[in-house]
């Protein structure tokens, strides 16, 4: 096995081009488990922890946060909790303090597990994944990045550079079902973002389909109902039953299976409940923001 240790982004891309079967490793919270358990013997490990660009976040020219693929969950919580509240909420549910000091959103995307905690938040926020190779850089909307169970849109010579996310313009929520609060791989998860400026709703479903996926029909339904009733402007209360109907439609967007962590039926039920609650909480926060401004 080779152990490749690039110290610049250019060297990392060159190494990946030269050895496309090298497995990138940053926090190691997925890759090292597979190696420890003899499930994987890659010909090379490509250590990305010494590439400074990956460990920074900045604002791009469009005002978006450009979150380097190697920024840890712990840093997202402490440094970006207000700017990216949905992602920070998801980050707080990842593993344990030890895991959050190592794990990264780039790793979550690289592993592309349907149960990855960051995915529902990335989907709800319409995140864009910036991927690169020696051939150049391209941007992939996150919903198109997940291509199958633990599969993603990366070409063999590509690496994940960053995730691009607009700072939140409205309330965001993240909900996760598991057997305890810490150290849990989600049974099901749901992310929600309100985008009042464009009168839109963002959604993300985790652990309840072959890939993380948005619930686009449900999101359009909720945004449309809010629009039709003039609620985006008036910030009036949600009509009776609207959040529950939203929950039903989110459930309809899922395609879960029975596995060791839970049954498909339980996943569907919990998604419906989480979506209803998330919508209620987010709308209450939206209304509260208005009340605070008026005061």
């Amino acid at each position: 096995m080779d152990f490749l240790t690039p110290t610049t982004w250019a060297d990392a891309l060159a190494a990946k081009a030269e050895q496309p079967d090298a497995v990138p490793v940053s926090g190691g919270t997925d890759v090292m488990v597979e190696i420890n358990f003899d499930r994987r013997r890659p010909p090379a490990l490509l250590d990305l922890t010494r590439v400074p660009d990956l460990r920074e976040w900045t604002h791009d020219d469009d005002g978006r946060v450009r979150l380097g693929a190697g920024v840890t969950y712990a840093r997202i919580i402490t440094e970006l909790g207000r700017t990216l509240p949905g992602l920070a909420m998801a980050a707080r549910t990842v593993g344990s303090p030890q895991i959050r000091h190592r794990g990264t959103v780039g790793g979550n995307l690289g592993a592309a597990s349907p149960a990855g905690d960051s995915h529902p938040a990335l989907l709800a926020a319409d995140a864009v994944v910036e991927v690169a190779s020696v051939r150049g850089t391209r941007q992939v909307p996150v919903a198109e990045f997940y291509t199958g169970v633990k599969r993603n849109a990366l070409a063999p010579d590509e690496l994940i550079a960053a995730v691009l996310l607009a700072p939140a313009t409205g309330p965001q929520q993240f909900c996760k079902i598991g057997t305890r609060n810490a150290m849990v791989i989600s049974v099901s998860a749901f992310g929600l973002a309100l985008h009042p400026g464009r009168r839109a709703v963002g959604t993300g479903i985790g652990s309840a389909a072959p890939t993380p996926r948005p619930a686009d029909e449900a999101a359009a339904f909720l945004a449309g109902e809010l629009d039709a009733a003039g609620l985006w402007e008036s910030r009036g209360p949600l009509p009776e039953g609207l959040a529950a109907e939203f929950g039903h439609r989110v459930r309809a967007a899922a395609a879960p299976i029975d596995d060791v962590r839970g049954t498909a039926a339980y996943r569907l039920h919990t998604l419906s409940v989480m979506a209803r609650r998330a919508a209620t909480w987010a709308w209450d926060e939206h209304r509260g923001a208005d009340a605070r401004r008026a005061a």
Binding site: T5, V25, V33, N36, L45, D47, T49, P97, Q98, I99
Partner: protein
């Protein structure tokens, strides 16, 4: 491959490290530091917790090569002595509190809990019970003796504050 790193304040060079090897394995099997324990090998139990550049991490999930030129502190490096001299006076206040409170049953989880507690109290010398539970959420005790462990954390925090 050869790796060079700082462990408990001393520069160490280790040869014949396998590229897929964990930092935990290198510490235990190549450097003779058996304090960090090898249990789940998947980051679930926290028995292998060490400081890596000042942050508590599961050393089973760090590739040994990733520790090149980094600073590692293991449970052996806490307190006044870098080696286990058996002298209680040289133990870190957290270690003393675990002894004092009887927060040890089989002892396997103890080194990880000591390192994690050390980090908590360093950051927050007056942790609330929910903060203690949150900080220790990644350290499992399968003897399920958590009450004494919580007592030890509170006692260590009080000791450090005084």
């Amino acid at each position: 491959m050869r790796i060079a790193l700082t462990v408990n304040g001393a520069r160490r060079e280790v040869d014949d490290v396998w590229e897929g090897e964990s930092l935990l394995y290198a510490l235990r099997e190549r450097m003779g530091l058996a304090g960090a324990k090898n249990a789940c090998e998947q980051g679930e139990c926290g028995s292998c917790t060490v400081y890596l550049d000042g942050l508590p991490v599961c050393s089973c999930l760090v590739a040994a090569g990733q520790a090149q030129d980094r600073e590692v502190t293991t449970v052996e490096g806490l307190g006044g002595s870098s080696e286990d001299s058996g002298d209680e006076a040289e133990l870190d206040p957290v270690q003393q509190a675990f002894v004092r409170c009887g927060a040890v049953q089989c002892g396997f989880c103890t080194p990880g809990l000591v390192v994690t507690t050390h980090d908590l109290i360093r950051r927050n010398p007056e942790p609330s019970d929910p903060e203690i539970r949150e900080a220790l959420a990644g350290n499992l005790c399968r003897c399920t003796g958590y009450e004494k462990i919580l007592d030890a954390v509170r006692s260590a925090a009080a000791e450090v504050r005084s």
